[in-house]
């Protein structure tokens, strides 16, 4: 199950309109969608946002990848649903957090699946974030595939020592991840030290002003992309106060009578 998680955010260099949009414009766009997702709490509204995001993912030819990643996360979605149902006692109310989680994923994918990690690093720096922050962020992203590979290795090693991940009740299963998580944490710490050292010997110094070989340039297209999305967000937000799933259900009832 854990083996494909990294696929969720793995960038693939494709030639689609979305891949050519300036990352800053994309970042601003996903930001407004994230805000909208947090503000709205009606399933129908969330569904509309989802449709908008999915159609953009389709343009970026990232829909299949998103679906694949989603499949691996289905157990988590079910878990969110169950936990919320236990505390809220209503299926429709517990579907909201599930949908929100799904939307977060889709929105994040919209950015990460269509943005070159190098461009992402440039974006963070252009936002005037300190180098230590922007570099750690882009390095973290860069190391997701490496880490996934390592997870795979460790899972295989522990399976070969008789670990049965798919047996026992829920809590027993969680405990079975200890022999996988501990080695991963230890290896990650070791690697972070190695990476830090290799950065230092290659002259990375957060106190020196850096210049860039490639500079990001905002074009008309990038601005239009953001404005169109901003328009969509505003329309969905304004419409949300007039139409909700309850009013729709009431309307359906009304038309039956």
């Amino acid at each position: 199950m854990m083996r494909n998680i990294h696929e969720l955010f793995k960038y693939e260099s494709l030639n689609t309109p979305l891949h050519h949009i300036d990352p800053r414009s994309k970042l601003a766009t996903i930001f407004i969608y994230l805000v909208l997702t947090i503000i709205l709490s009606d399933i129908m509204h969330l569904l509309i946002i989802l449709i908008i995001i999915l159609s953009q993912l389709a343009i970026g030819r990232a829909l299949r990848k998103f679906a694949k990643g989603l499949l691996t996360l289905t157990p988590f979605l079910v878990l969110i649903l169950i936990l919320n149902y236990l505390s809220l006692g209503s299926v429709s109310a517990s579907l909201v957090p599930v949908f929100r989680f799904l939307l977060f994923l889709a929105i994040m994918d919209l950015f990460f699946l269509t943005t070159d990690p190098d461009d992402f690093a440039l974006t963070l720096e252009s936002l005037r974030l300190p180098l230590t922050v922007s570099l750690s962020f882009s390095l973290a992203l860069r190391f997701i595939p490496t880490m996934a590979e390592q997870v795979n290795e460790i899972v295989e090693a522990q399976l070969s020592r008789g670990l049965k991940l798919d047996q026992g009740n829920f809590f027993a299963r969680i405990r079975k991840y200890v022999p996988i998580l501990i080695p991963i944490i230890i290896l990650s710490i070791k690697r972070s030290i190695e990476v830090a050292e290799s950065l230092e010997i290659r002259g990375v110094d957060p106190n020196i002003k850096r210049i860039h070989y490639v500079a990001l340039k905002l074009s008309m297209r990038d601005i239009v992309y953001f404005l169109v999305n901003l328009g969509l967000v505003i329309v969905v937000y304004l419409a949300s106060s007039y139409i909700s799933s309850e009013s729709l259900i009431a309307l359906l009832h009304f038309s039956k009578i």
């Binding site: 390592q150 290795e153 460790i154 295989e156 090693a157 522990q158 399976l159 070969s160 020592r161 008789g162 670990l163 049965k164 200890v178 022999p179 996988i180 501990i182 080695p183 230890i186 290896l187």
Partner: protein, 276 residues
């Protein structure tokens, strides 16, 4: 016996085959080295032996059991797999628990666990560390612990992936002893390696792989006298055999020598001749 029949394997559904038409029989008590350069498919092949990977096409049988029909945990009792850098998988607070982990997974009772762990820790000179953290051990000790934590359940087949990687000369010597011990116990030992010097010291049956195919299967000595095949698989001759071919090319010796001692004797006798 492990039997591989027309094995093809690909990681991605429409991807290229990383293993192509592999046919092998690995008998009981055999010592085997699977050799080849990076990406030849060595590790992918051995992962089929304990069911971590299932054939895309073809079959793999372990003692007449089709690996597709049984879970990894069941095959692992027969086929112990020691991965490259096995010390990466440690997670316990005590050496003892690290070794007992697999036995608990396989459902041994406490009495047997105590007996087996004590025995293997003694064999591997690790008894004094039983209550220490695995992480305070030296590199060589960690490697030994990792091997012990697999041999503890006495698997009939033992696969070691790059056992010499990152090990110094002393540890290699110890590794040789461990391998000899396993062979004398009648275990089938399968080494995955590109360390020609190490293989030259143990002279097992060599299965040489290149681009997912088996290009040679036979005696190590014969392979090492054939630099052509070795180079085509991205390997070079061990020093001893390089020396042998140089001397033969110069017409100084006929045939070859099998051990360093033999080589030394020949060279000394050659020197002796010159002095006369």
């Amino acid at each position: 016996m492990i039997v591989v029949e027309n094995l093809y394997f690909t990681y991605a559904p429409q991807g290229d085959y990383v293993l192509k038409n592999i046919n092998l029989e690995i008998g009981e008590g055999e010592l085997i080295a699977i050799m080849g350069d990076n990406g030849a498919g060595k590790t992918t092949l051995v992962k089929h032996f304990n069911g971590l990977l299932k054939p895309t096409l073809g079959r793999v049988y372990v003692d007449d059991v089709d690996t597709r029909d049984v879970p990894i945990s069941e095959l692992s009792r027969k086929v112990g797999m020691i991965f490259q850098y096995p010390e990466k998988m440690f997670f316990s607070e005590r050496v003892w628990d690290e070794v007992a982990f697999a036995l608990r997974n396989f459902g041994y009772d406490e009495a047997s666990i105590n007996r087996l762990v004590q025995k293997i820790l003694n064999i591997f000179w690790l008894w004094k560390y039983r209550d220490s953290s695995p992480f305070i051990l030296s590199g060589g000790e960690q490697r030994r612990l990792a091997i012990a934590s697999v041999l503890v359940w006495n698997p009939k087949y033992v696969v070691m992936d790059e056992p010499t990687a990152g090990q110094d000369a002393v540890q290699r010597e110890i590794l040789l002893q461990i391998i000899n011990m396993m062979v004398s116990q009648g275990k089938t030992v399968i080494l995955v390696t590109h360390d020609v010097e190490f293989v030259a010291e143990i002279r097992p049956r060599v299965i040489l792989m290149s681009n997912g195919e088996v290009v040679y299967d036979g005696e190590a000595t014969r392979l090492f006298r054939n630099p052509g095949i070795l180079e085509s698989a991205g390997l070079t001759q061990p020093i001893l055999f390089k020396l042998e071919s140089r001397l033969r090319d110069q017409g100084l010796i006929e045939g070859g020598f099998n051990t360093i001692d033999e080589a030394a004797k020949k060279i000394i006798s050659l020197l002796g001749d010159e002095r006369l």
